[in-house]
């Protein structure tokens, strides 16, 4: 039976070894910061100005890291795909289009399967960007841009298993995604657009007709209705607005609390006016089949909280309040 002393010693070794690995990998990442140069800026510009996709290729551990970077780029608004170099040579190259940006990931820069792909990618009109630890490698020489992800040493004591180098690659990928988030002005709502799993996401991914108010719940008055009635309806429904429609149910306008205040400032006898005299004509509208996300965009762009819903010829079908999409107490313009 082993003594407690022996056990303690072994635990310390384990912890020390782990600390050592983390330190080596951290050093590797920190040194990356010093190596960042204009190539990284050019890469960010290239992706930012391109309407095409970012395609990432790599073999082994680099390939696994590449898949993670693809996922991060996609969820932050940069269209991205993973292309396995071997599968690419056997038909998957068909997914590559002219103008795509190919990020080739290889620490050594001498991965045959990856390098064999380069002439074909060039022929297809792709920009090739190497993410490699060897600036003088075949991959680097055949690329338009080279991002240096070299590390001084691997954390593996044998120097064989990719450890620090893949961590550096991962960090560089995250750096790229985050810089693009800032450059594109990608905000919380954009993020939610690509993450429809949450409750807000579910509401955003539904159609307007699924969440709008319909039938008797829609605050609506006729064109010639007196303002007394319009104000009563605004109070009853509690969304701060009433829709104004003509005899054939075509939307003519909308009266909001703001409209009443504005008219009141000029004409104290607002209650004697007809709805037609107070309403804002040609309000912004959406159709019932519009995605809720697009309706939200309209509301944000025009700084409105109530959106009339009309059919293809402009007849009133419902009404949507900002709270119906974002939930009460949660809404903030621009999602910040």
């Amino acid at each position: 039976m082993k003594s407690t002393f022996e056990k303690t010693m072994r635990s310390d070794d384990v912890i020390n070894q782990a600390i050592n690995v983390i330190k080596i990998e951290a050093e590797g990442i920190l040194k990356l910061a010093d190596r960042l140069d204009d190539s990284f800026v050019h890469l960010v510009d290239l992706i930012y100005h391109s309407k095409a996709r970012v395609i990432i290729g790599g073999i082994g551990k680099s390939g696994l890291v590449g898949r993670k970077i693809v996922a991060t780029l996609n969820s932050t608004g940069t269209r991205s795909l993973f292309l396995h170099p071997v599968e690419a040579l056997h038909g998957d190259l068909g997914m590559v289009s002219s103008g795509d940006i190919f990020l080739a990931m290889s620490n050594s820069g001498e991965t045959d399967e990856l390098n064999a792909l380069l002439p074909n990618l060039r022929q297809l009109g792709c920009k090739i960007v190497a993410m490699t630890g060897n600036r003088y490698s075949t991959l680097a020489k055949n690329s338009d841009l080279v991002i240096d992800i070299g590390v001084d040493r691997e954390a593996c004591p044998l120097g064989m298993a990719p450890t620090s180098s893949t961590t550096a690659l991962l960090a560089m990928g995250d750096a790229l995604a985050v810089v693009l988030i800032h450059k594109k002005g990608f905000n919380q709502h954009d993020f939610q657009k690509y993450h429809p799993g949450g409750s807000l996401g579910q509401r955003l991914s539904s159609k307007v007709k699924d969440i709008m108010w319909t039938g008797g719940d829609v605050p609506v008055v006729a064109l010639d209705a007196e303002m007394v009635k319009a104000v009563q309806i605004i109070n009853q429904h509690g969304i701060g607005a009433v829709l104004v429609e003509d005899a054939e149910h075509f939307l003519s306008g909308i009266i909001t609390d703001g409209d009443i205040r504005r008219v009141l400032a000029q004409n104290a006898a607002v209650m004697k006016l007809a709805a037609e005299d107070v309403m804002s004509k040609n309000p912004k509208t959406c159709g019932p089949d519009t995605p809720a996300y697009d309706a939200l965009n309209v509301m944000e762009r025009f700084q409105i909280t109530v959106l009339p819903i009309v059919n293809s010829i402009g007849k009133v079908r419902g009404v949507l309040h900002l709270h119906d999409i974002l939930g009460k107490g949660e809404f903030k313009f621009n999602g910040v």
Partner: protein
């Protein structure tokens, strides 16, 4: 290089002519129709032979329509006035009477004549006709070429389209600003080549179904815009990449496809009897008060309209929740 103002581009709506039960101009419905389409259209045509029943309306009613339209529109959109009559003399006279009214009203908005010359004249001597007619007018002209329309009048064997070389000669007249063209693609290409010396000569699609498939650069004259002005505006602006929907086609591709599909389904419903069918739809959805027409209908057509067609229309209106 010509130094002329560009005619409007985008969605041109040939308004139907609302009539009451006594076949007089229904001004209230016309105003309502104008209010309904105004926001979405880039120009309107009044008195069009197919959509506005121009060829079958009495002259005094057509002149009253011009007067009322000018008062109503007040320069907010370019106005295109169709002057085609069943005879050459009639067309010349109508153009003179219309221009006299316009001059009296001292109208400052953009105006264009629209004319389908082959309805009353052959290709021979057409350039000279326009030289004479337009030398007396300050209002520029948009040509119309629609073989289906001409087929209503001319017997087989006669030319139903403006010949390419004739168009080339007509286009030397700077007052002719463009053409509303309905016909095959090959002729359209020949027309384009014939007038390439005119930088701002505009081609509008005269067949809206063709525009949905292959949009002409200048836009479309879509009768369907009487009923669906917003949808037609969306499709036109995005197809032509016009403001305010520039660069909007890609993200809205699926929505535009759905809208176009709907517009095509309705197009099939009204294409054979444009004015009659559009008026019935507008009346049924409550935009105009009467569906009265002056378009001469055969008894078989009337029977179809009352039964089969009406069933199809009701089905389509219900499918798109338009009633």
């Amino acid at each position: 290089m010509e130094s002329e103002a560009r005619p409007p581009e985008g969605l041109i709506c040939p308004l139907v002519t609302p009539l009451d039960n006594d076949r007089k101009l229904d001004l209230r419905s016309f105003k309502r129709l104008w209010n309904y389409v105004e926001r979405w259209v880039d120009a309107i045509v009044i008195g069009d032979p197919l959509w506005g029943e121009g060829l079958f309306l009495p002259q005094d009613l057509r002149l009253a329509l011009i007067e009322f339209a000018i008062e109503l529109i007040r320069g907010r959109r370019p106005l295109m006035i169709c002057i085609t009559c069943s005879s050459f003399k009639g067309t010349v006279l109508f153009r003179e009477q219309a221009e006299s009214i316009i001059n009296q009203m001292n109208y400052k908005g953009q105006l264009y004549w629209v004319d389908f010359p082959l309805f009353y004249h052959s290709n021979r001597g057409l350039p000279q006709v326009y030289e004479t007619m337009l030398s007396k007018s300050e209002i520029p002209l948009i040509l119309g070429n629609n073989a289906e329309l001409i087929r209503m009048k001319k017997r087989p064997g006669k030319h139903k389209n403006i010949r390419t070389r004739v168009l080339k000669k007509i286009a030397h007249n700077a007052s002719v600003k463009g053409i509303i063209y309905a016909g095959d693609l090959k002729r359209a290409l020949n027309y384009h080549m014939a007038v390439r010396f005119r930088e701002h000569f505009v081609f509008y699609d005269g067949d809206e179904n063709v525009f949905i498939k292959n949009p002409a650069k200048g836009g479309v004259m879509a009768g369907g815009a009487n009923v669906f002005p917003q949808k037609w505006s969306d499709v036109t602006q995005m197809s032509l990449d016009l403001p305010p929907r520039q660069n909007a086609f890609e993200p809205a591709r699926s929505a535009i496809w759905e809208d176009s599909r709907m517009l095509q389904r309705f197009y099939r419903l009204y294409t054979l009897l444009p004015a009659v069918a559009i008026k019935k739809i507008l009346h049924q959805v409550g935009i105009i008060a009467y569906d009265e027409c002056v378009w001469p209908l055969a008894s078989r057509q009337q029977r179809d309209l009352d039964h089969t067609w009406q069933i199809d229309l009701n089905r389509l209106l219900a499918a798109y929740d338009l009633l």
